[in-house]
Protein backbone atom coordinates (compact mmCIF):
# COMPACT_ATOMS: atom_id res chain seq x y z
CA UNK A 1 0.00 0.00 0.00
CA UNK A 2 2.77 2.40 0.95
CA UNK A 3 4.46 2.56 -2.47
CA UNK A 4 1.22 3.23 -4.24
CA UNK A 5 0.25 5.74 -1.58
CA UNK A 6 3.63 7.47 -1.84
CA UNK A 7 3.24 7.75 -5.62
CA UNK A 8 -0.21 9.28 -5.30
CA UNK A 9 0.99 11.72 -2.65
CA UNK A 10 3.93 12.74 -4.82
CA UNK A 11 1.61 13.32 -7.76
CA UNK A 12 -0.64 15.56 -5.65
CA UNK A 13 2.33 17.54 -4.30
CA UNK A 14 3.66 17.94 -7.84
CA UNK A 15 0.32 19.31 -9.02
CA UNK A 16 -0.12 21.55 -5.97
CA UNK A 17 3.37 23.05 -6.26
CA UNK A 18 3.43 23.01 -10.06
CA UNK A 19 6.72 21.09 -10.07
CA UNK A 20 7.89 17.90 -11.79
CA UNK A 21 7.04 14.75 -9.86
CA UNK A 22 10.61 13.50 -10.39
CA UNK A 23 11.90 16.29 -8.15
CA UNK A 24 9.97 14.88 -5.19
CA UNK A 25 11.89 12.32 -3.15
CA UNK A 26 10.42 9.96 -0.55
CA UNK A 27 12.07 11.99 2.22
CA UNK A 28 11.94 15.50 0.66
CA UNK A 29 11.06 18.12 3.25
CA UNK A 30 8.44 20.83 2.71
CA UNK A 31 11.23 23.40 3.00
CA UNK A 32 13.13 21.73 0.16
CA UNK A 33 10.00 21.74 -1.97
CA UNK A 34 9.20 25.39 -1.11
CA UNK A 35 5.89 24.44 0.46
CA UNK A 36 4.89 27.39 2.65
CA UNK A 37 2.00 27.49 5.12
CA UNK A 38 -0.61 28.37 2.49
CA UNK A 39 0.71 25.74 0.08
CA UNK A 40 0.50 23.29 2.98
CA UNK A 41 -3.17 24.16 3.55
CA UNK A 42 -3.95 23.65 -0.11
CA UNK A 43 -2.06 20.37 -0.08
CA UNK A 44 -4.07 19.08 2.89
CA UNK A 45 -7.28 20.08 1.07
CA UNK A 46 -6.13 18.24 -2.06
CA UNK A 47 -5.18 15.14 -0.04
CA UNK A 48 -8.57 15.12 1.70
CA UNK A 49 -10.33 15.33 -1.65
CA UNK A 50 -8.16 12.62 -3.21
CA UNK A 51 -8.36 10.10 -0.36
CA UNK A 52 -11.82 10.98 0.99
CA UNK A 53 -10.43 11.31 4.46
CA UNK A 54 -10.59 14.05 7.08
CA UNK A 55 -7.15 15.16 8.19
CA UNK A 56 -7.42 16.66 11.70
CA UNK A 57 -5.69 20.01 12.30
CA UNK A 58 -3.17 18.40 14.68
CA UNK A 59 -2.20 15.75 12.16
CA UNK A 60 -1.93 18.37 9.38
CA UNK A 61 0.44 20.45 11.52
CA UNK A 62 2.79 17.46 11.81
CA UNK A 63 3.30 17.31 8.06
CA UNK A 64 6.78 18.64 7.36
CA UNK A 65 8.02 16.16 4.78
CA UNK A 66 6.74 13.79 2.12
CA UNK A 67 7.50 10.84 4.40
CA UNK A 68 5.44 12.32 7.24
CA UNK A 69 2.52 12.90 4.88
CA UNK A 70 2.61 9.30 3.65
CA UNK A 71 2.89 7.86 7.17
CA UNK A 72 0.19 10.14 8.55
CA UNK A 73 -2.16 9.35 5.71
CA UNK A 74 -1.57 5.63 6.04
CA UNK A 75 -2.62 5.75 9.71
CA UNK A 76 -5.72 7.76 8.89
CA UNK A 77 -6.68 5.42 6.06
CA UNK A 78 -6.19 2.33 8.24
CA UNK A 79 -8.31 3.90 10.99
CA UNK A 80 -11.00 4.72 8.43
CA UNK A 81 -10.90 1.15 7.08
CA UNK A 82 -11.19 -0.28 10.60
CA UNK A 83 -14.12 1.99 11.39
CA UNK A 84 -15.89 0.91 8.20
CA UNK A 85 -15.46 -2.88 8.68
CA UNK A 86 -18.05 -4.79 10.68
CA UNK A 87 -17.15 -5.05 14.34
CA UNK A 88 -15.61 -8.38 15.20
CA UNK A 89 -17.19 -10.37 17.96
Amino acid sequence: MTDELAARVAAIIAKNQRIAVETIGAQSTFAELNIDSLDGLQLVFALEEEFHVDIPDDAAKEFRSVGEVVNGLEKLLLAKQAAASPASV
Binding site: R18, L38, L41, Q42, V44, F45, E48, E49
Partner: protein, 401 residues
Protein backbone atom coordinates in the same frame (compact mmCIF):
# COMPACT_ATOMS: atom_id res chain seq x y z
CA UNK B 1 -0.21 71.65 -1.52
CA UNK B 2 1.09 69.78 -4.52
CA UNK B 3 -0.63 69.50 -7.89
CA UNK B 4 -1.34 65.94 -8.91
CA UNK B 5 -1.07 64.34 -12.37
CA UNK B 6 -2.57 61.20 -13.83
CA UNK B 7 0.34 59.57 -15.64
CA UNK B 8 -0.79 55.99 -16.16
CA UNK B 9 -4.07 54.18 -16.70
CA UNK B 10 -5.03 50.53 -17.03
CA UNK B 11 -8.50 49.23 -17.82
CA UNK B 12 -10.15 45.82 -18.05
CA UNK B 13 -13.74 46.10 -19.26
CA UNK B 14 -16.27 44.72 -21.70
CA UNK B 15 -14.57 46.95 -24.27
CA UNK B 16 -11.20 45.19 -23.90
CA UNK B 17 -8.21 44.63 -21.69
CA UNK B 18 -6.19 47.79 -22.14
CA UNK B 19 -6.35 51.55 -22.41
CA UNK B 20 -6.62 51.81 -26.17
CA UNK B 21 -9.32 49.19 -26.64
CA UNK B 22 -11.31 50.95 -23.89
CA UNK B 23 -10.84 54.36 -25.46
CA UNK B 24 -11.36 53.25 -29.06
CA UNK B 25 -14.53 51.40 -28.03
CA UNK B 26 -15.94 54.54 -26.45
CA UNK B 27 -14.77 56.89 -29.19
CA UNK B 28 -16.49 54.59 -31.71
CA UNK B 29 -19.62 54.44 -29.57
CA UNK B 30 -19.39 50.67 -29.24
CA UNK B 31 -21.76 49.06 -26.74
CA UNK B 32 -20.07 46.23 -24.83
CA UNK B 33 -23.36 44.80 -23.58
CA UNK B 34 -24.11 41.23 -24.73
CA UNK B 35 -25.68 37.99 -23.54
CA UNK B 36 -24.16 36.91 -20.21
CA UNK B 37 -21.94 33.81 -20.53
CA UNK B 38 -20.80 33.35 -16.91
CA UNK B 39 -24.22 32.39 -15.57
CA UNK B 40 -26.97 30.26 -17.07
CA UNK B 41 -29.62 32.98 -17.41
CA UNK B 42 -32.32 30.87 -19.04
CA UNK B 43 -34.39 31.08 -15.87
CA UNK B 44 -33.60 34.76 -15.14
CA UNK B 45 -35.05 38.08 -16.17
CA UNK B 46 -31.52 39.47 -16.46
CA UNK B 47 -29.79 37.99 -19.50
CA UNK B 48 -27.45 40.72 -20.68
CA UNK B 49 -24.47 42.49 -19.19
CA UNK B 50 -21.21 44.23 -19.99
CA UNK B 51 -19.15 41.14 -19.32
CA UNK B 52 -15.38 40.87 -19.73
CA UNK B 53 -15.25 38.06 -22.27
CA UNK B 54 -12.28 36.00 -23.46
CA UNK B 55 -10.27 37.13 -20.42
CA UNK B 56 -7.20 34.93 -19.98
CA UNK B 57 -5.47 35.93 -16.73
CA UNK B 58 -2.46 33.75 -17.65
CA UNK B 59 -1.48 36.51 -20.05
CA UNK B 60 -0.52 38.59 -17.00
CA UNK B 61 -0.47 36.39 -13.90
CA UNK B 62 1.08 33.08 -12.88
CA UNK B 63 -1.09 30.01 -12.36
CA UNK B 64 -0.21 30.14 -8.69
CA UNK B 65 -1.31 33.77 -8.36
CA UNK B 66 -4.54 33.04 -10.19
CA UNK B 67 -5.31 30.20 -7.77
CA UNK B 68 -5.29 32.67 -4.88
CA UNK B 69 -7.43 35.35 -6.58
CA UNK B 70 -11.11 35.85 -7.26
CA UNK B 71 -11.99 37.08 -10.76
CA UNK B 72 -12.48 40.57 -9.30
CA UNK B 73 -8.91 40.59 -7.94
CA UNK B 74 -7.53 39.29 -11.23
CA UNK B 75 -9.12 42.29 -12.96
CA UNK B 76 -7.57 44.63 -10.36
CA UNK B 77 -4.13 43.09 -10.83
CA UNK B 78 -4.23 43.35 -14.62
CA UNK B 79 -5.44 46.96 -14.55
CA UNK B 80 -2.70 47.85 -12.05
CA UNK B 81 0.02 46.16 -14.12
CA UNK B 82 -1.17 48.01 -17.22
CA UNK B 83 -1.32 51.35 -15.38
CA UNK B 84 2.19 51.03 -13.96
CA UNK B 85 3.58 50.00 -17.35
CA UNK B 86 1.75 52.92 -18.95
CA UNK B 87 3.15 55.45 -16.48
CA UNK B 88 6.72 54.25 -16.93
CA UNK B 89 7.44 55.00 -13.28
CA UNK B 90 8.31 52.66 -10.45
CA UNK B 91 5.47 52.49 -7.96
CA UNK B 92 6.99 50.88 -4.88
CA UNK B 93 8.13 51.43 -1.33
CA UNK B 94 6.89 53.23 1.75
CA UNK B 95 6.13 56.49 -0.04
CA UNK B 96 3.65 54.74 -2.35
CA UNK B 97 -0.01 53.96 -1.66
CA UNK B 98 -2.66 51.66 -3.01
CA UNK B 99 -6.29 52.66 -2.54
CA UNK B 100 -8.91 50.57 -4.30
CA UNK B 101 -12.68 50.68 -4.44
CA UNK B 102 -14.68 47.47 -4.42
CA UNK B 103 -18.29 47.02 -3.43
CA UNK B 104 -18.85 43.28 -3.43
CA UNK B 105 -15.56 41.52 -2.77
CA UNK B 106 -14.97 38.06 -4.17
CA UNK B 107 -18.50 37.20 -5.19
CA UNK B 108 -17.48 34.52 -7.71
CA UNK B 109 -15.62 32.70 -4.94
CA UNK B 110 -18.52 33.10 -2.51
CA UNK B 111 -21.14 31.96 -5.01
CA UNK B 112 -19.13 28.85 -5.84
CA UNK B 113 -18.65 28.14 -2.12
CA UNK B 114 -22.34 28.51 -1.31
CA UNK B 115 -23.31 26.34 -4.26
CA UNK B 116 -21.03 23.60 -2.88
CA UNK B 117 -22.29 24.17 0.64
CA UNK B 118 -26.05 24.25 0.10
CA UNK B 119 -26.58 22.44 -3.21
CA UNK B 120 -23.92 19.75 -3.01
CA UNK B 121 -23.74 19.52 0.80
CA UNK B 122 -19.97 19.67 0.57
CA UNK B 123 -18.07 19.88 3.83
CA UNK B 124 -14.60 20.73 2.49
CA UNK B 125 -13.68 23.96 0.78
CA UNK B 126 -10.74 25.44 -1.06
CA UNK B 127 -8.44 26.79 1.68
CA UNK B 128 -8.14 30.12 -0.14
CA UNK B 129 -11.90 30.75 0.06
CA UNK B 130 -11.68 33.42 2.77
CA UNK B 131 -8.67 35.40 1.48
CA UNK B 132 -10.03 35.20 -2.07
CA UNK B 133 -13.36 36.63 -0.96
CA UNK B 134 -11.92 39.61 0.97
CA UNK B 135 -13.06 42.95 -0.44
CA UNK B 136 -9.52 44.30 0.02
CA UNK B 137 -7.90 41.42 -1.90
CA UNK B 138 -7.29 43.68 -4.92
CA UNK B 139 -5.40 46.27 -2.89
CA UNK B 140 -3.44 43.61 -1.01
CA UNK B 141 -2.40 41.64 -4.08
CA UNK B 142 -1.41 44.85 -5.91
CA UNK B 143 0.75 45.93 -2.95
CA UNK B 144 2.48 42.53 -2.91
CA UNK B 145 3.11 42.39 -6.65
CA UNK B 146 4.55 45.93 -6.74
CA UNK B 147 6.24 45.95 -3.29
CA UNK B 148 4.18 48.95 -2.21
CA UNK B 149 4.62 49.25 1.56
CA UNK B 150 2.89 52.56 2.34
CA UNK B 151 -0.85 53.07 2.98
CA UNK B 152 -2.90 50.29 1.42
CA UNK B 153 -6.64 49.85 1.82
CA UNK B 154 -10.00 49.41 0.15
CA UNK B 155 -13.03 51.66 0.26
CA UNK B 156 -16.43 50.04 -0.03
CA UNK B 157 -19.22 52.51 -0.74
CA UNK B 158 -21.29 50.57 -3.28
CA UNK B 159 -21.34 52.32 -6.66
CA UNK B 160 -19.17 55.21 -5.44
CA UNK B 161 -16.38 52.96 -4.08
CA UNK B 162 -13.81 53.70 -6.77
CA UNK B 163 -14.50 57.44 -6.83
CA UNK B 164 -14.07 57.61 -3.05
CA UNK B 165 -10.85 55.57 -3.38
CA UNK B 166 -9.39 57.78 -6.12
CA UNK B 167 -10.36 60.92 -4.21
CA UNK B 168 -8.56 59.76 -1.08
CA UNK B 169 -5.48 58.65 -3.00
CA UNK B 170 -5.47 62.06 -4.71
CA UNK B 171 -5.63 63.85 -1.36
CA UNK B 172 -2.77 61.74 -0.01
CA UNK B 173 -0.51 62.63 -2.95
CA UNK B 174 -1.61 66.28 -2.87
CA UNK B 175 -0.90 66.66 0.83
CA UNK B 176 2.52 65.00 0.58
CA UNK B 177 1.55 62.01 2.71
CA UNK B 178 2.80 59.82 -0.16
CA UNK B 179 4.69 60.52 -3.39
CA UNK B 180 2.77 58.21 -5.67
CA UNK B 181 -0.47 56.25 -5.63
CA UNK B 182 -2.01 53.41 -7.54
CA UNK B 183 -5.78 53.77 -7.25
CA UNK B 184 -9.02 52.70 -8.86
CA UNK B 185 -11.59 49.97 -8.48
CA UNK B 186 -12.49 46.40 -9.34
CA UNK B 187 -15.67 44.34 -9.48
CA UNK B 188 -16.92 40.99 -10.80
CA UNK B 189 -20.64 40.70 -10.05
CA UNK B 190 -21.79 38.11 -12.59
CA UNK B 191 -22.93 35.29 -10.32
CA UNK B 192 -26.33 33.65 -9.99
CA UNK B 193 -26.80 35.01 -6.47
CA UNK B 194 -26.01 38.58 -7.50
CA UNK B 195 -28.22 38.45 -10.59
CA UNK B 196 -31.15 37.13 -8.52
CA UNK B 197 -30.59 39.94 -6.03
CA UNK B 198 -30.52 42.62 -8.73
CA UNK B 199 -33.54 41.04 -10.39
CA UNK B 200 -35.54 41.51 -7.20
CA UNK B 201 -34.60 45.21 -7.05
CA UNK B 202 -36.33 45.65 -10.41
CA UNK B 203 -33.88 48.25 -11.68
CA UNK B 204 -32.08 46.19 -14.34
CA UNK B 205 -33.07 46.79 -17.94
CA UNK B 206 -34.06 43.84 -20.15
CA UNK B 207 -32.37 45.62 -23.06
CA UNK B 208 -29.00 47.44 -23.15
CA UNK B 209 -29.33 50.47 -20.88
CA UNK B 210 -30.28 53.80 -22.46
CA UNK B 211 -29.23 56.49 -19.98
CA UNK B 212 -31.14 59.79 -20.18
CA UNK B 213 -33.28 58.44 -23.03
CA UNK B 214 -37.08 58.50 -22.81
CA UNK B 215 -38.65 55.16 -21.82
CA UNK B 216 -35.36 53.87 -20.49
CA UNK B 217 -35.83 50.66 -18.56
CA UNK B 218 -33.02 50.61 -16.04
CA UNK B 219 -29.34 49.86 -15.70
CA UNK B 220 -27.12 47.17 -17.20
CA UNK B 221 -24.57 45.52 -14.93
CA UNK B 222 -20.94 45.50 -15.95
CA UNK B 223 -17.64 44.22 -14.60
CA UNK B 224 -13.96 44.98 -14.79
CA UNK B 225 -11.34 47.19 -13.20
CA UNK B 226 -9.51 50.40 -13.84
CA UNK B 227 -6.41 51.74 -12.09
CA UNK B 228 -4.69 55.11 -12.31
CA UNK B 229 -1.19 56.19 -11.35
CA UNK B 230 -1.24 59.52 -9.52
CA UNK B 231 1.97 61.44 -8.87
CA UNK B 232 2.95 65.05 -8.19
CA UNK B 233 2.65 67.08 -11.39
CA UNK B 234 6.10 68.55 -10.85
CA UNK B 235 7.68 65.09 -10.64
CA UNK B 236 5.79 63.92 -13.71
CA UNK B 237 6.89 66.92 -15.78
CA UNK B 238 10.48 66.60 -14.50
CA UNK B 239 10.74 63.03 -15.76
CA UNK B 240 9.07 63.92 -19.06
CA UNK B 241 6.06 61.70 -18.41
CA UNK B 242 2.90 61.92 -20.44
CA UNK B 243 0.30 63.66 -18.28
CA UNK B 244 -3.19 62.50 -19.26
CA UNK B 245 -4.79 65.10 -17.04
CA UNK B 246 -4.43 66.80 -13.72
CA UNK B 247 -6.68 65.54 -10.96
CA UNK B 248 -7.85 68.75 -9.33
CA UNK B 249 -10.65 68.15 -6.87
CA UNK B 250 -12.71 65.68 -4.90
CA UNK B 251 -16.02 66.21 -3.18
CA UNK B 252 -18.16 63.83 -1.17
CA UNK B 253 -21.49 64.04 0.60
CA UNK B 254 -24.20 61.82 2.03
CA UNK B 255 -27.91 62.22 1.31
CA UNK B 256 -28.89 60.91 4.76
CA UNK B 257 -32.28 60.25 3.23
CA UNK B 258 -33.03 56.91 1.58
CA UNK B 259 -31.19 53.64 0.96
CA UNK B 260 -31.95 53.49 -2.76
CA UNK B 261 -33.71 56.70 -3.88
CA UNK B 262 -31.17 59.35 -4.93
CA UNK B 263 -31.33 62.96 -3.79
CA UNK B 264 -30.62 65.88 -6.12
CA UNK B 265 -29.42 67.93 -3.18
CA UNK B 266 -26.80 65.41 -2.06
CA UNK B 267 -25.50 65.00 -5.62
CA UNK B 268 -25.38 68.76 -6.21
CA UNK B 269 -23.53 69.38 -2.95
CA UNK B 270 -20.92 66.77 -3.95
CA UNK B 271 -20.39 68.45 -7.33
CA UNK B 272 -20.02 71.87 -5.66
CA UNK B 273 -17.60 70.39 -3.11
CA UNK B 274 -15.45 68.92 -5.90
CA UNK B 275 -15.39 72.25 -7.77
CA UNK B 276 -14.49 74.12 -4.62
CA UNK B 277 -11.73 71.63 -3.80
CA UNK B 278 -10.44 72.01 -7.37
CA UNK B 279 -10.58 75.80 -7.32
CA UNK B 280 -12.61 75.65 -10.54
CA UNK B 281 -15.74 77.65 -11.26
CA UNK B 282 -18.68 75.79 -12.81
CA UNK B 283 -18.25 77.73 -16.09
CA UNK B 284 -14.85 76.13 -16.63
CA UNK B 285 -16.23 72.60 -16.68
CA UNK B 286 -16.57 71.50 -20.32
CA UNK B 287 -17.74 67.92 -19.82
CA UNK B 288 -19.51 65.84 -17.19
CA UNK B 289 -19.13 62.07 -17.10
CA UNK B 290 -22.46 61.35 -15.44
CA UNK B 291 -23.33 58.63 -12.99
CA UNK B 292 -26.09 58.06 -15.59
CA UNK B 293 -27.23 54.58 -14.66
CA UNK B 294 -30.25 54.52 -16.95
CA UNK B 295 -32.76 54.07 -14.13
CA UNK B 296 -35.84 56.27 -14.13
CA UNK B 297 -34.88 57.83 -10.80
CA UNK B 298 -31.14 58.43 -11.20
CA UNK B 299 -31.20 60.17 -14.54
CA UNK B 300 -33.93 62.66 -13.59
CA UNK B 301 -32.39 63.39 -10.20
CA UNK B 302 -28.91 63.77 -11.67
CA UNK B 303 -30.27 66.16 -14.31
CA UNK B 304 -31.83 68.30 -11.57
CA UNK B 305 -28.58 68.24 -9.62
CA UNK B 306 -26.50 69.23 -12.66
CA UNK B 307 -28.93 72.04 -13.49
CA UNK B 308 -28.73 73.36 -9.95
CA UNK B 309 -24.93 73.57 -10.10
CA UNK B 310 -24.45 74.61 -13.74
CA UNK B 311 -26.48 77.55 -15.04
CA UNK B 312 -25.55 76.41 -18.55
CA UNK B 313 -24.75 72.70 -18.25
CA UNK B 314 -21.86 71.46 -20.41
CA UNK B 315 -22.17 68.29 -22.52
CA UNK B 316 -22.90 65.27 -20.32
CA UNK B 317 -22.56 61.60 -21.17
CA UNK B 318 -23.01 58.26 -19.51
CA UNK B 319 -20.29 55.88 -20.64
CA UNK B 320 -22.14 53.16 -18.69
CA UNK B 321 -24.11 52.77 -21.91
CA UNK B 322 -20.93 51.16 -23.31
CA UNK B 323 -19.04 49.55 -20.38
CA UNK B 324 -22.07 48.88 -18.21
CA UNK B 325 -22.49 49.69 -14.54
CA UNK B 326 -19.42 48.14 -12.96
CA UNK B 327 -20.58 49.01 -9.41
CA UNK B 328 -17.51 49.38 -7.18
CA UNK B 329 -15.29 49.76 -10.26
CA UNK B 330 -17.61 52.21 -12.03
CA UNK B 331 -15.98 55.37 -10.68
CA UNK B 332 -12.58 54.15 -11.87
CA UNK B 333 -13.70 53.20 -15.39
CA UNK B 334 -15.39 56.58 -15.64
CA UNK B 335 -12.43 58.50 -14.20
CA UNK B 336 -10.30 56.93 -16.94
CA UNK B 337 -12.96 57.79 -19.54
CA UNK B 338 -12.87 61.39 -18.28
CA UNK B 339 -9.09 61.80 -18.27
CA UNK B 340 -8.84 60.23 -21.74
CA UNK B 341 -11.56 62.60 -22.99
CA UNK B 342 -9.45 65.52 -21.73
CA UNK B 343 -6.28 64.00 -23.16
CA UNK B 344 -7.71 63.25 -26.61
CA UNK B 345 -10.03 66.23 -27.03
CA UNK B 346 -12.93 63.89 -27.75
CA UNK B 347 -16.03 63.50 -25.60
CA UNK B 348 -17.37 59.93 -25.39
CA UNK B 349 -21.08 59.51 -26.16
CA UNK B 350 -24.18 58.12 -24.47
CA UNK B 351 -25.07 55.23 -26.79
CA UNK B 352 -28.38 53.39 -27.23
CA UNK B 353 -30.02 56.82 -27.04
CA UNK B 354 -33.40 56.81 -28.77
CA UNK B 355 -35.49 59.75 -27.72
CA UNK B 356 -35.05 62.86 -25.63
CA UNK B 357 -36.70 62.87 -22.19
CA UNK B 358 -37.97 66.34 -21.18
CA UNK B 359 -37.03 65.51 -17.61
CA UNK B 360 -33.42 64.91 -18.70
CA UNK B 361 -32.98 68.11 -20.71
CA UNK B 362 -29.21 67.93 -21.10
CA UNK B 363 -26.89 67.64 -24.07
CA UNK B 364 -26.07 63.96 -23.57
CA UNK B 365 -23.79 63.55 -26.63
CA UNK B 366 -26.21 61.01 -28.12
CA UNK B 367 -24.80 57.94 -29.86
CA UNK B 368 -21.64 59.43 -31.40
CA UNK B 369 -18.55 60.87 -29.76
CA UNK B 370 -17.81 64.54 -30.27
CA UNK B 371 -14.50 66.15 -31.14
CA UNK B 372 -14.24 68.91 -28.56
CA UNK B 373 -11.24 69.93 -26.51
CA UNK B 374 -12.31 71.03 -23.06
CA UNK B 375 -10.38 72.58 -20.22
CA UNK B 376 -11.86 70.67 -17.30
CA UNK B 377 -14.34 67.92 -16.52
CA UNK B 378 -15.99 66.15 -13.61
CA UNK B 379 -16.96 62.53 -13.06
CA UNK B 380 -20.00 61.76 -10.91
CA UNK B 381 -20.56 58.66 -8.78
CA UNK B 382 -23.68 58.28 -6.65
CA UNK B 383 -24.17 55.15 -4.59
CA UNK B 384 -26.97 53.22 -2.99
CA UNK B 385 -26.99 54.26 0.61
CA UNK B 386 -27.05 57.91 -0.50
CA UNK B 387 -23.26 58.29 -0.85
CA UNK B 388 -21.97 60.75 -3.42
CA UNK B 389 -18.42 61.22 -4.73
CA UNK B 390 -17.32 63.58 -7.49
CA UNK B 391 -13.85 63.92 -9.02
CA UNK B 392 -12.69 67.00 -10.94
CA UNK B 393 -9.97 66.88 -13.61
CA UNK B 394 -8.26 69.50 -15.79
CA UNK B 395 -6.63 68.92 -19.14
CA UNK B 396 -2.88 68.81 -19.52
CA UNK B 397 -3.10 71.87 -21.76
CA UNK B 398 -4.82 73.81 -19.00
CA UNK B 399 -2.28 72.45 -16.57
CA UNK B 400 0.73 73.76 -18.49
CA UNK B 401 -0.66 77.28 -19.00
Amino acid sequence: MRRVAVTGVGVVSALGFDRESFWNGMADGRCGIETIDAVDCSDLKIRIGAEVKRFDPLMWLTAKEIGTMDRSTQFAMVAALEAVKDSGVEVAGERAAVVTGCSLGGKCTEDETYRGLYAEKRTRFEPMTIPRAMTNAGASCISMRHAITGPCYTVSTACASAAHAIGQAFWMVRSGLVDIALTGGNEAPFTLGMLRGWESLRVVSPEPCRPFSKNRKGLTLGEGAAMLVLEPLEAALARGAHVYAEIRGFGMTADAAHLTMPSADGAARAMRAALQDAGLSAERIGYINAHGTGTAANDVTETQAIRSVFALPPPVSSTKSMHGHALGAAGALEAVATVLALDRGVLPPTVNFVERDEQCDLDVIPNASRVLAVEAAISNSFAFGGLNAVLAFASDGATRV
